[in-house]
C-alpha cells in the first residue's frame, strides 16, 4: 500500500482548523428559527459543576447547538440519509413529494385506553345531553400505508368511539389522499382550510348550517413549523399562514386565562404579533393556554360550547364560535379539571372532546 499523499494532511488541517476558527469567531445566538427552539448557551462555570461533570455535558450541548453552519450540517445529514442511504425519512419525518409527514408508527394503547377512561370521568361530572367526541387524524393519515411504515390511526378513533359515552363525529373519513393542502407542509397542524373542513363536519353534526364565503388574509409567508426543523430539508419551501375574515369573525373577543386569576381579553381571535415569535401558529387565539374563551356577541343563539382540546382546536374554534355566544377551550395540560369544575358551571352546555391522534398517542398529560 502506498502511503497517503500530503494533500491528505492539508485537507485535514484545513477542515479541522478552518472549522474551529470559524466556530470560535461566530457569536452564539439565542434561538434557532429553523428548529423553533431556544439554543443552549455557554454553561455556568463553577468548580463544583466541573467536578461533577455537569459542565462538560452542558458545554457539549452548547457546542452542538451553536456550532457554525449548524443548519447546513443538519441539511447535509438529512441529504445523506434520504439521497445516499435512500431512507424515506430523517429524524422520524417522512419527506414525500416535497411535503413533510410526522412518522406515525406504534399505537400507544395504554395512553388511548387511559384517555377514554379520563374522558368518561369528565362526562360523568357534567350534566349535559350534548356531549360530542371527535378525533383529528395526523397528516400521515394521508399517506399510502403500504409504502411507508405507518400505524392505522383509525384504531385510535375507533377505540374512543366505542368506549367514550359521547356522540362520535367522524373526522377521520373527512381527510384522505389528496388533501395535502389541508395541512401545513412544514408543520403537523391543519391549515385554515383544514380547520374549515373540520368545522363543516363538526358544526353540521351539532345541528347548524356552516357559514361559507370568507376573505383570507396572509399573515406570513415564512412559517417554518415543527417538522421543518426536524426534517432539515433545504428544498422545502416555508408555509404561508392565512387567517379567515368575515364580519362575525372580526367582532369576536378572545379572553385568555394566563393563570387562574389573570385574565386578559383581546378584541380579535388573531394575534398578529405572534407571527414573529417562535411558533407563528400561535396567531390563532394566541396559542396554548389553560383556558381560552372566545366570545361572540353577534351570535344568533345564546348557546355555549365547551371544548376539551389540543392545539388543533386553535385554528378551528373561531369558526365554531360563529354560531355560539361563547366557546370555552380547556387545555388540561395546563389546568386541573377539578379546578375547572369548581370555577365553571358546565351543566347544560354542549361539550366537545377534540384531540388529534398524534397528541393522544404521545402525550399522557392531555387529560390530566
Amino acid at each position: 500500500m502506498r502511503r497517503p499523499h500530503l494533500t491528505t494532511v492539508l485537507a485535514f488541517i484545513v477542515f479541522v482548523f478552518g472549522l474551529t476558527a470559524l466556530d470560535l469567531s461566530s457569536q452564539p445566538t439565542q434561538i434557532s428559527t429553523s428548529e423553533r427552539r431556544k439554543l443552549a448557551q455557554f454553561p455556568e462555570l463553577s468548580l463544583e459543576r466541573m467536578l461533577a461533570g455537569g459542565f462538560a455535558k452542558d458545554y457539549s450541548l452548547f457546542l452542538q447547538d451553536q456550532v457554525v453552519f449548524r443548519d447546513a450540517f443538519r441539511n447535509i445529514k438529512s441529504f445523506v440519509e434520504r439521497r445516499l442511504l435512500l431512507k424515506d425519512e430523517n429524524n422520524g419525518v417522512y419527506v414525500v413529494n416535497n411535503n413533510l409527514y410526522d412518522k406515525f408508527y406504534g399505537v400507544n394503547e395504554r395512553y388511548i385506553q387511559r384517555a377514554a377512561v379520563l374522558m368518561n370521568g369528565i362526562i360523568e361530572a357534567i350534566d349535559s345531553s350534548r356531549i360530542y367526541l371527535s378525533v383529528i387524524p395526523s397528516k400521515a393519515h394521508l399517506l399510502d400505508g403500504s409504502k411507508y411504515l405507518l400505524s392505522n390511526q383509525n384504531a385510535i378513533a375507533d377505540h374512543l368511539r366505542q368506549n367514550v359515552q359521547a356522540a362520535y363525529i367522524d373526522l377521520m373519513g373527512a381527510f384522505g389522499e389528496g388533501d395535502e393542502d389541508l395541512y401545513y407542509v412544514t408543520d403537523h397542524h391543519w391549515t385554515t382550510q383544514g380547520a374549515i373542513r373540520g368545522y363543516d363536519v363538526l358544526i353540521r353534526a351539532m345541528g347548524f348550517e356552516p357559514v361559507e364565503g370568507y376573505e383570507f388574509e396572509q399573515v406570513t409567508d415564512s412559517f417554518a413549523g415543527s417538522l421543518y426543523g426536524r426534517a432539515a430539508v433545504s428544498s422545502i419551501a416555508k408555509d404561508r399562514i392565512y387567517v379567515a375574515h368575515n364580519p362575525v369573525l372580526d367582532h369576536m373577543t378572545t379572553c385568555r386565562y394566563e393563570t387562574t386569576d389573570d385574565v386578559k381579553c383581546f378584541l380579535s381571535v388573531y394575534f398578529r404579533e405572534k407571527v414573529g415569535g417562535l411558533d407563528p401558529y400561535d396567531v390563532f387565539i394566541g396559542g396554548a393556554g389553560p383556558i381560552t374563551v372566545i366570545e361572540n356577541d353577534r351570535a344568533a343563539s345564546d348557546d355555549e360550547l365547551v371544548v376539551f382540546k389540543d392545539s388543533y382546536a386553535h385554528a378551528l374554534a373561531p369558526f365554531l364560535a360563529q354560531h355560539l355566544r361563547t366557546v370555552t377551550l380547556f387545555d388540561l395540560r395546563y389546568v386541573r379539571k377539578e379546578w375547572i369544575f369548581d370555577q365553571f358551571d358546565l351543566d347544560g352546555k354542549a361539550v366537545l372532546f377534540l384531540y388529534s391522534t398524534t397528541i393522544l398517542n404521545t402525550d399522557p398529560r392531555i387529560l390530566n
Binding site: P4, T8, F12, L19, T20, S60, K77, K87, Y148
Partner: protein, 464 residues
C-alpha cells in the same frame, strides 16, 4: 471525552495538535500527558486521581521489580502490583456485582455502593499489569522516568478503549519518536475512516437494532435483522474507535498495534478470535493462558485452561452474568472446534465454514447484547420463530428496505474489499493527491453533520 464529539474535533484535537507541534521537542511528552489528563478528566474528573494513584504505585513497584531482579523482593513487588491492580479493578468495576450476587446467594442484605465505573479502567489496568509482568519476566525495559510511565498509561488515543499496548512495544517511541508528514497523513487516513465507521455506520445501524429489539410486532426477519445490525454496530463502533486511536497515534508519532483484522470474514471461531479485539486476546494468551501451560499440557488441563481464560475474558467485558455466559460460550465452542470440528471444517466448502462462523458469532452477540437470561431467551425465540409465527411483517420489511443501502455499505466495509481496491489504485497519482483527500473531506463533513444532528452516542466499549 469522546472522539466523535464536537468538543474533541473542534476544540481538543486542534488545540493539542497546535501546541504539540509548536512547543520544543523536549516538552512534547509533557504536553501529551497534560492533554491526556484533560481528555480523561473531561466529564469525570475524579477518576483521574484514581489513574494517577495507580500509576504512582505501579511505577514504584515496577522500579522495585527491576532493582531486585531475581530475588524474592521482586516477586513480592510483582505480587503487590497484581494485587493492587486487580483490587482497583475489582472494586471499581465488580464490587456491586459481587455484593449483589452474595446477597442473592446468602440472602444477606449488604448495601450496594453504586460505584460509578471509571471509564477506561479495564484497559489501562491491563496495560499496567502487562508492564509489571513483562518487567518481572525480563521481557520489557523499565520506564526510567515516571513521566514516561505516566505517558504510557494515560496516552489519550488509547486510554478509553485500547488497543491494550505492551510497554515494550512502544517503549522507544515514548522516549524518542519521529514525526513526519507521511506518518501524519497515514494518521489522518486511519482517523477519518475510523470516525466514519463510528458515526456514519455504527450509530446508524444501532437504530435498526433498537427498533428490532423493542418491537411490539416481532417477526423472524426482525429477529435476524436486529442481531445482524448489532453485530455491525459492535464491530464498526469498536474497530472505528481502534482506527481512530491508531490514527491519532500516528499523528503524534506512535505505532500502535492493530486491534481488528476483518473478523467477519473468518472461517472458524478460532480464526475469529485472531481477528477480533486482537490486543485483548493476546493479553489473555500471554498472561493467563500460557502461564497456565497453554496447550502443552494434558487434554484435561488444557480444557481447564480454556475455561479459565474464557471465563475471565467474558468477565472482563462487564460485571454481569451475560458476559460470563458469553465468554463460556466461546470457550466451549473453541474447545469443541479444536477437538471435534476442525477436521470436519477443513473438508467443508468455504461458504459453509463462513456461514457456521457467522451463525455462531451472531448467537454470541445475543448473549452479549442482552443482560438478563429471560431477555436472551426471549430474543432467541424472536429469531427462531418461537415468539412469533410470522416470518416477516410490514415493519420488518420496511426496516430492511429503508436500511438496505446502509446494510450493504456495512457488509462491504467489513470485508477487505475496499482495502484491496485502494491498494490496487493507490499508486496512481490522482488517487492519492485528489480522490483520497476528497474522500477524507467528504467523510469528515458527513461525520460532523451526523455529530451535529445527534444525541449523545458514547462508544460501546467504554462500558467495559
Amino acid at each position: 471525552m469522546v472522539f466523535s464529539s464536537l468538543e474533541f474535533l473542534l476544540r481538543f484535537l486542534p488545540a493539542t495538535l497546535l501546541l504539540y507541534f509548536l512547543v520544543p521537542e523536549r516538552f512534547q511528552n509533557a504536553l501529551l500527558v497534560i492533554a491526556s489528563l484533560v481528555f480523561y478528566a473531561w466529564g469525570q474528573p475524579i477518576h483521574v486521581l484514581l489513574m494517577l494513584f495507580s500509576c504512582a504505585i505501579n511505577y514504584a513497584l515496577g522500579t522495585a521489580i527491576d532493582r531486585y531482579r531475581g530475588s524474592t523482593r521482586a516477586r513480592v513487588a510483582l505480587a503487590s502490583s497484581i494485587v493492587v491492580n486487580l483490587s482497583l479493578l475489582g472494586f471499581f468495576k465488580y464490587w456491586d456485582f459481587l455484593i449483589a450476587n452474595l446477597n442473592s446467594i446468602l440472602g444477606s442484605n449488604i448495601g450496594l455502593l453504586g460505584v460509578p465505573l471509571a471509564v477506561g479502567i479495564s484497559f489501562y489496568t491491563f496495560k499496567i499489569l502487562s508492564y509489571s509482568i513483562d518487567l518481572y519476566r525480563g521481557d520489557s525495559v523499565t520506564a526510567k522516568d515516571p513521566r514516561t510511565f505516566l505517558l504510557y498509561v494515560s496516552l489519550f488515543p488509547q486510554l478509553m478503549a485500547g488497543p491494550i499496548e505492551r510497554y515494550e512495544a512502544i517503549a522507544n517511541e515514548l522516549v524518542d519518536r519521529e514525526h513526519s508528514l507521511d506518518l501524519f497523513a497515514e494518521g489522518v487516513h486511519r482517523f477519518v475512516l475510523g470516525l466514519g465507521k463510528k458515526v456514519i455506520i455504527a450509530d446508524n445501524v444501532a437504530l435498526i437494532w433498537d427498533a428490532c429489539r423493542t418491537t411490539t410486532a416481532p417477526s423472524v426477519l426482525s429477529g435476524w435483522l436486529g442481531i445482524v445490525a448489532f453485530a455491525f454496530q459492535l464491530y464498526f463502533d469498536f474497530s472505528g474507535y481502534s482506527d481512530m486511536a491508531i490514527g491519532l497515534g500516528r499523528m503524534f508519532g506512535f505505532h500502535f498495534a492493530e486491534n481488528f483484522r476483518f473478523p467477519y470474514i473468518s472461517q472458524s471461531i478460532t480464526e475469529f478470535w485472531r481477528r477480533w479485539h486482537i490486543s485483548l486476546g493476546q493479553w489473555f494468551r500471554d498472561y493467563v493462558y500460557i502461564p497456565l501451560g497453554g496447550n502443552r499440557v494434558s487434554r484435561w488441563r488444557w480444557v481447564r485452561n480454556m475455561i479459565v481464560v474464557w471465563f475471565l475474558t467474558g468477565l472482563w467485558h462487564g460485571a454481569s452474568w451475560n458476559f460470563v455466559l458469553w465468554g463460556a460460550y466461546f470457550g466451549v465452542l473453541l474447545v469443541f472446534e479444536r477437538l471435534l470440528l476442525s477436521r470436519l471444517l477443513e473438508r467443508l466448502p468455504r461458504l459453509m465454514r463462513h456461514s457456521y462462523t457467522l451463525l455462531a458469532v451472531l448467537v454470541s452477540w445475543v448473549i452479549f447484547a442482552l443482560d438478563s437470561v429471560s431477555d436472551i431467551l426471549s430474543y432467541f425465540g424472536h429469531m427462531f420463530g418461537l415468539r412469533t409465527t410470522e416470518l416477516y411483517n410490514a415493519e420488518s420489511l420496511y426496516l430492511l428496505r429503508a436500511n438496505a443501502v446502509l446494510l450493504l455499505i456495512a457488509i462491504v466495509a467489513s470485508t477487505p474489499a475496499l482495502v484491496v481496491l485502494y491498494d490496487r489504485f493507490s499508486d496512481r497519482a490522482y488517487v492519492r493527491t485528489v480522490l483520497m483527500p476528497l474522500l477524507y473531506l467528504t467523510v469528515l463533513t458527513i461525520s460532523t453533520a451526523y455529530v451535529v444532528d445527534s444525541s449523545f452516542n458514547p462508544f460501546l466499549y467504554f462500558r467495559f
